[in-house]
Symmetry: C2
Subunit: 155 residues, 2 copies
């Protein structure tokens, strides 16, 4: 009995999550790409905006992508002069990636756009439920992190 009910809950959970992902991917494709940058490119800009001078490796970890994929995205952004690769003083293997002023500007512009839609979505939630939602989304993130960690151990 208990198992049946948790199974149903997990199914419902799965449907909600997959639904959200599809919808958000759709939103991001439309909101972000209208500024001439792709979704992945925007994520990289965002990451660099909040954490300056990251290495390729750190960037890959944060984005849950391989370093080679990051190389390609960073190539694109470098071509557009939105970021710069700088060599580390001490360890010559390491590249430190930094936003150019131009890159910062385009990120803020596209981010404002996304932020506006995020605000509208958030304000559709009943005021009394908002704080709970924030707290549960944080728990959910932690939970996924935890799952990923145990996965790594099993492999």
């Amino acid at each position: 009995m208990k198992n049946v009910s948790i199974r149903k809950d997990v199914e419902e959970f799965h449907n909600s999550i997959i639904g959200l992902i599809k919808k958000y991917q759709f939103r991001d494709r439309n909101e972000v790409t209208s500024f001439g940058i792709s979704v992945s490119q925007c994520y990289v800009l965002e990451t660099l905006y909040f954490q300056k001078a990251l290495t390729m490796k750190k960037l890959a970890e944060q984005m849950h992508l391989t370093i080679s994929t990051i190389t390609r995205i960073v190539d694109q952004l470098e071509r557009k002069k939105f970021i710069e690769r700088k060599q580390d003083d001490k360890d010559l293997r390491i590249r430190r990636i930094t936003l150019t002023p131009k890159g910062e500007k385009i990120f803020l512009k596209s981010w404002a756009n996304v932020f506006e839609s995020e605000r509208e979505i958030f304000e559709n939630i009943k005021p009394g439920h908002r704080k709970v939602l924030l707290s549960l989304l944080k728990d959910l993130n932690d939970s996924v992190d935890q799952w990923q960690d145990t996965c790594k151990i099993n492999k």
Copy 2:
């Protein structure tokens, strides 16, 4: 004062959502593709499993993709004999897409895998919080739908 606080909340909301999306995309790439089907392909199989004999157009709507994109994904799945395109009896323009037994089998296999990880993630959430989380995720989905609808009207 009120504005400042809601701004902070929206930022936190944004970070949680983006974080979840990145992590879940990562999970799906790894869990699903190990069965020889891509993430998009799996989404299509899933949609067809729960709603039989959809048209290309319906499929596109549900996946938040264009029809031409669906054509490509369906092409891939047809090549692998996981689905079939059947012409509608009445309207010859319409194609009805159905899972083959082989397609159903591979979907269930990969779905069991994803379901298992979903269960682990869900069970990391405190039991007392689970029902609330389900209900809020549903609200959030509705909220994104609502936002998308008002968007369309504005365009």
